[in-house]
């Protein structure tokens, strides 16, 4: 049982990571800086609970805010460029964040132990959950309360005019500008929202893995962050969730019985998924079909 609860935790946190990239992708930008924001969230939250002795929720809030501020600050210059330039610029930024934490040491004496981030050796013993009597189920529920809140907020945002504006910018910046939209402000806002969400995810990540170090926040994680929404489709937030379940639940854990083949299949199935569903697992067409199905069901029911 614990195993499933743990897996659901992982799915939850990765969904947050994917959603942070989703916000930015809506405006048509591929950002590989999300792992950097995730790292900021992880380190800030971890330091607050371990070194500062803070309770988790305020620590998460501050972590999210910190990552949001970083995202906003980096968004202004970075979003001057687009396309491949932005991909590389954000990769550079994400790597810079990782390397900052590689060089970052801030330890306090606690009895005979030294606690806190210690450069390349990482930040050990972020044990807020077990020390405060949280069971795996509690942690899972807590993570999912956060995930559902974020998903609901994004779902609602998607339906509001903000969503239409974000997508309009993503489709055609020139036309959006000419329709009176401040494109820079919209893109930076999207990046900031993405940063807030990534920070939240990072804070949770630090606490359920209990140990963080710079290597975890590299290019691979950043790639996964954008892979989730792209693989899932950008038509709504559930695409990202489905993709996380596909990757974490199916490709990683579900295919375990394949033994040595599992890892070969991992990359291969991602390629295959993109060939079969180039617009993502859930695209606008799927939604229309689903709606039709639902409507037919309603009619049949009534």
């Amino acid at each position: 049982m614990d195993f499933y609860l743990g897996l659901v935790q992982i799915i939850g946190v990765h969904t947050l990571l994917g959603l942070s990239a989703y916000c930015v992708l809506l405006t048509g930008q591929v950002s590989l800086a999300q792992a950097g924001f995730f790292a900021v969230g992880a380190y800030v939250a971890g330091m607050l609970t371990v070194l500062g002795g803070w309770p988790l929720i305020p620590a998460l809030a501050v972590a999210s805010l910190a990552a949001g501020i970083v995202a906003c600050a980096v968004g202004f210059p970075a979003l001057r460029v687009k396309g491949l330039m932005l991909v590389v610029a954000t990769t550079a930024f994400g790597e810079a964040v990782r390397l900052f934490f590689f060089n970052f040491t801030y330890q306090l004496e606690r009895g005979e132990l030294r606690i806190g981030p210690h450069g390349g050796e990482g930040f050990r013993q972020i044990r807020y959950f077990p020390e405060n009597g949280w069971s795996t189920l509690d942690v899972m529920l807590f993570i999912w309360v956060v995930v559902i809140a974020v998903m609901a907020a994004l779902w609602w945002m998607d339906r509001s005019r903000i969503g239409a504006v974000l997508r309009a910018v993503g489709e055609d910046e020139l036309a959006a500008q000419s329709s009176g939209i401040n494109v820079t402000a919209v893109k930076v806002s999207a990046m900031t929202i993405g940063g807030l969400i990534a920070g939240l995810g990072g804070g949770l990540f630090a606490h359920y893995t209990t140990h963080i170090e710079h290597v975890q926040f590299g290019v691979v994680l950043a790639t996964f962050a954008v892979a989730y929404p792209i693989l899932g489709g950008l038509s709504n937030v559930f695409g990202t969730l489905i993709a996380v379940i596909f990757i974490q639940g199916f490709l990683i854990e579900g295919l375990r019985f394949m033994g040595d083949w599992r890892n070969l299949l991992f990359g291969g199935l991602i390629v295959l998924a993109m060939i079969v569903r180039p617009r993502g697992l859930i695209d606008a067409g799927t939604l229309v079909a689903l709606k039709r199905l639902l409507r037919r069901g309603e009619r049949a029911g009534a």
Binding site: R167, A168, D172, A176, Q177, S179, G180
Partner: protein, 248 residues
């Protein structure tokens, strides 16, 4: 209402627009014609602020807006359509207007502006759609519309920003006679509602029938200006067109 002073734009060594002076009066319909590549669309882009000026000024209602970013010019009341249609294809028809409309509503409270606006605003969008005969398509994806409908939607989207100055870049291109008649009627209706219009068009009949005044461009310079009747008899204009566009 709009005044262009020595408007100049060079692309590298090419003088796309070269010292054009032009005034648009409140409430009039100004036609902007000229052979291909004469700088008409560039002027529109400069009025909207898509490129920086090389020289000159754009003055709108007495203030110099030459350095304002495009979205702020829209907020002042300048809206446009594109020659090559640029809709938000993955949004619905209704959402296309929604995006454009609320940009002006920001003054009435930030949140309301961003989250979707009042019932009044929604009704306004529906009315606009009906006016452009798109009401029945409101939930279709804009990318799935027929060509003529897409042109109408562009027009509608520009109008949704509640502009006082509307810049139409070849709205009749690719339309059939019936559609052009409807377009003619809509432009007149808008003028009655007080919208000032600058119309770029190759379709001579439409220009001649609907405009109050016409300015003619060639090689980035203004070569003539006057009523449609005056323009038709202007020898300079004939000369400009003869070599390049006899059919027009």
């Amino acid at each position: 209402m709009l005044e262009l002073r020595r408007l100049t734009k060079y692309f590298g060594g090419v003088r796309a627009v070269d010292g054009v002076d032009l005034t648009v009066a409140e409430g009039e319909i100004l036609g902007l014609i000229g052979p291909n590549g004469s700088g008409k669309s560039t002027i529109i882009n400069l009025i909207c602020g898509l490129f920086p000026l090389t020289d000159g000024e754009v003055v709108f209602r007495g203030t110099d807006i030459s350095t304002l970013p495009p979205h702020e010019r829209v907020a002042l009341g300048i809206a446009r359509t594109f020659q090559n249609i640029r809709l938000f294809g993955q949004l619905t028809v209704w959402q296309n207007l929604w995006v454009a409309q609320k940009a002006r509503g920001q003054g009435r409270g930030f949140l309301r502006g961003w989250l979707g606006g009042s019932r009044h605003d929604r009704v306004a969008i529906d009315k606009t759609l009906d006016f452009f005969d798109l009401g029945h398509k409101r939930d279709e994806l804009a990318g799935n519309l027929a060509f003529g409908e897409q042109r109408r939607l562009e027009f509608a989207r520009a109008f949704a920003a509640k502009p006082s100055l509307l810049l139409l870049d070849e709205p009749a291109a690719g339309m059939n006679a019936e559609e052009i008649d409807q377009l003619d009627a809509r432009i007149r209706q808008l003028r009655r509602e007080g919208v000032t219009i600058v119309l770029i068009e190759h379709h001579v009949e439409l220009v001649m029938s609907v405009t109050d005044r016409i300015a003619v461009l060639n090689f980035g310079q203004k070569i003539a200006e006057g009523t449609p009747a005056e323009i038709q008899t202007n020898p300079l204009v004939r000369e400009a067109y003869l070599g390049t566009q006899t059919a027009a």
